[in-house]
């Protein structure tokens, strides 16, 4: 029973990582950049939803919607102002800019909302947890909804990318930016759309994360951001199912190593597993093998 409880915690934490990692992976796939500010967009999403429900008095779900819209706009703006001017100048310059954006978002949140932690009200407040096996196993509504949301989002994204015109355009840009342009695809639009989707997902992840782990401070997004980045690489960065699998595995490893090995060294174990996986599969679990052209 203990094992099951831990497994569900792991899946739930992993699903949060997975949703964040989906955003990472999409942005990476199309623009080949590590968007380190992604974690901070989660934080902004959390704050927005908090503000909307606490101060404006919105219903939690409506607040979520507002947070998604604001984060989407924010994502597009950041891409337009900070990343687009550096497109094609190598991934390092954009990486550093992304870090600058991350500092910027953290500090602006600090100035606006102050340093005092806020206690996020769960989106699923009022729903009672499911008790099974005579009360030994408790499943919270947060876990259920996070895991479900993860699966739904992953399926929708996969469908979107493989079936719709915009999704195909995104894939084309991701495959070969220049050729896609020659084929008449609006590269700028495709990249903007990717950032929009990624940031909207970040808002969802922020609200789900804060529902399960309710403390909200300006650096809330930093650590999950790094973990999710790890998850994305774990599953093969650029791959949508990979991000989901990577996130889930990472969450499970983290919880299990805390439960059964050592809480002190949980992070070391998580990162150690990542290294092992990359040694066996250098491009992650589901990553594409890159053939070098000579």
């Amino acid at each position: 029973m203990n094992f099951l409880t831990n497994l569900i915690s792991g899946l739930s934490l992993g699903s949060v990582y997975a949703i964040i990692a989906l955003g990472y992976t999409m942005v990476y796939g199309i623009s080949k950049m590590l968007n380190f500010a992604h974690g901070d967009i989660i934080m902004i999403g959390g704050y927005m939803s908090f503000i909307m429900s606490m101060y404006v008095g919105m219903n939690g779900w409506l607040a979520l919607l507002v947070a998604i819209v604001i984060c989407t706009i924010l994502g597009i703006t950041i891409e337009r102002l900070a990343y687009r001017p550096l497109r094609g100048t190598g991934s390092l310059a954009v990486l550093i800019t992304a870090i600058g954006v991350s500092y910027f978002l953290q500090n602006i949140a600090l100035l606006i909302w102050g340093a005092n932690p806020k206690m996020f009200t769960s989106l699923f407040k009022g729903m009672s947890p499911i008790h099974a096996a005579g009360g030994k196993l408790t499943i919270t509504p947060e876990s259920i909804f996070t895991i479900l949301a993860n699966i739904v989002i992953m399926l929708c994204l996969t469908l979107f990318v493989s079936k719709t015109k915009a999704g195909k355009a995104m894939r084309a840009v991701s495959e070969d930016n220049g050729a896609a342009q020659l084929m008449g695809i609006n590269v700028n639009q495709s990249i903007s759309l990717t950032f929009a989707i990624g940031s909207g997902l970040a808002a969802v992840a922020g609200v789900l994360m804060c529902s399960a782990y309710p403390v909200l401070i300006p650096t809330t997004g930093a650590m999950p951001g790094i973990k999710a980045f790890t998850a994305a690489v774990f599953g093969g960065i650029g791959s949508i199912p990979g991000a989901m699998i990577g996130g889930l595995i990472l969450g499970i490893i983290e919880i299990f190593s805390r439960a059964y090995i050592s809480t002190e060294l949980a992070d070391a174990i998580v990162f150690g597993c990542l290294i092992l996986v990359l040694l066996v599969r250098p491009t992650g679990l589901l990553g594409k093998k890159v053939h070098e052209k000579v």
Binding site: S9, L13, M119, P129, T140, Y213, T219
Partner: protein, 385 residues
Amino acid sequence: MKKTWTKALAVALSCMMAFALAACGGGSSAGDGKLHIGVIGPFTGGAALYGNAVKNGAELAVNEINAANADGLQIVMESQDDEHDAEKSVNAYNKLLDDGMQVLVGPTTSTPAAAVATECEKNQTFMLTPSGSSPDVTAEHGNVFQLCFSDPNQGIASADYMAENFADAKVGVIYKNDDNYSTGIFNKFKAEWEAKGKKVEAEETFTDGVTDFSAQLNSLKNAGVDLVFLPIYYDAASNILTQADKMGYAPKFFGCDGMDGILSMEGFDTSLAEGLMLLTPFTPYSEDAKSKAFTEAYQEAYGELPIQFAADAYDCVYAIYDAFNKAGLDPNADMAEICEALVGQFAGDFTASGITAEEMKWNEKGEVEKTPKVCEIQDGKYIEK
């Protein structure tokens, strides 16, 4: 090749500008008949909460003193950010020295405080930290004093209280193992607890940025722990309380002074903290007249309830002010002279009364001697035990 040289020239020019910017503003303003107090703490980054509380608390005290004696001693306060980093904290300290600081209230957190304490001893600056609670801060520095309980003392006090009041409890701990404060309390607590012939049933830890405590809580639950000691800050603790509640685990929780503030968190469901006990020198719900006045003034000025850090900083300023007057010092005196006189006071029979304790005295190590209060949260209020 010319291009390289012109580039180098451009860079050199910009360098000089930056240096000029960094070098200017260094005009010492001491000697204007006012006492210059410096405050250091993390105003940005993950620990900003504590630094801002200290800054606000100290500012409140300074404003009160200045308003109260318009013709007498005036205090000028300058605060500098250290991002909870020893290196930045030393930089902040040096910056304050450049600006003519005479007495230091700070740094807020332990590791930076320990680094700055060494510098303070070198330069003979009187340092009173409101909240740098590690024994490393005051160790072997004659002119460095603490206004908060030291971490080991909190560990011992907690163990004593628990042994007296929960003699039969099965005790477990969750502490933050990459944190100075938390491990400091825990190590001493464990030693003291085991010295009483008792056992810590389960020790669980977490590191910075961890928000999921399900595995830790599960282990405690399986070990049959019914009294959980949480020597951690309230932001992580509120996560723990929420998750314990969700999984239907309801042991008695016992915290230290870092737990204070949990009730004033915006959006916090106070029913989660029902029955939580904590060892704290200050509560914003105290009926004590001084505390009440402080809480009201603080709320009016900063729009939130003060946490214990703010109260400690407030007391720091008053303690320095009182000792300064008692020593009969001249605000135009230089830093080392003030330091010597204040050390004479603090190491002597000077006692300070404030909102965190009455009659505070300092021992030869520079640690404060005051009695901790144990409170229990009932109906969203602290009840003193």
